[in-house]
Symmetry: C2
Subunit: 154 residues, 2 copies
Amino acid sequence: MESNLQIDSLDKKILSMITHNARIPFLEVARECKVSGAAIHQRIQRLMNMGVIKGSEFIINPSKIGYHTCAFMGIFLKKASLFDKVVKMLEEIPEVVECHYTTGEYAMFIKIFAKSNEHLKRILHDKLQNIPGISSTETIISLDESFKRQLPIE
Amino acid sequence: MESNLQIDSLDKKILSMITHNARIPFLEVARECKVSGAAIHQRIQRLMNMGVIKGSEFIINPSKIGYHTCAFMGIFLKKASLFDKVVKMLEEIPEVVECHYTTGEYAMFIKIFAKSNEHLKRILHDKLQNIPGISSTETIISLDESFKRQLPIE
DNA sequence: AGTGAAACAGGCGATCG
DNA sequence: CGATCGCCTGTTTCACT
């Protein structure tokens, strides 16, 4: 979708340092890259303006805040044109953390967290299956997230 | 897996502020929560020690760094006991960003980024299908990530 | 656990090459 | 674009509660 021609090797080095620790002092990045802190500051500002950096976040362990069930769900739609409306409805369900428009087995694909399997069942019955436009769903329960990481920079 | 009894409402307020902006000054969080900066500092330290906070990261837009294809893949194994070895092999493939042990259609489920559909095909043929233990795979290509977000805190 | 002060360090804008 | 400078703000520790 977008070019990456404006990203040079200094940008990549900065990105690879800050993607794994958002609280790292920019001066530390600067020392490692052998430039001034102000240069890092400007570069990161530029990367944000370009949309390369979308933001920053602390990573929470879902099970430690009570979410013990993780699942993926494939969704079949009655009509493909209902996609936008279904996305809006899914956005209203806070447990749905990721939503994709897909080809392959399903029309849509989502990732969802729930407090328990029982809770997941309730979300499925009470919320998902009441969304007009969804004809059926298939659930894949994750018994264990073996790893989760960021895309490496170059 | 874990209880969340040790997390009180101040912790939740802190978490909800820092999950959406990892660079927010702790003093700003402190003012909002009407406690001292040192208290926030201690709380966050404690949440890290408890494993509630797993780290922090800048969020990169994959397409802006040249990764234009996103896919999910269901994996069938020859034997369930090969799971651990397959995870190790998948970890060697940097484009694989998420790996789950699942029930349902598949034995395993992964999320993967590639530079293009052609690149995805190469990863699939040259790397994934050469992993001993994998009997077959099914690919779900994401044409669009409609949204991606964090689990809300309470 | 939380506070406030103090010492230290980093963020970030202005200005100059 | 990057460097230097400088002020302002935030971070972190510590003694006290």
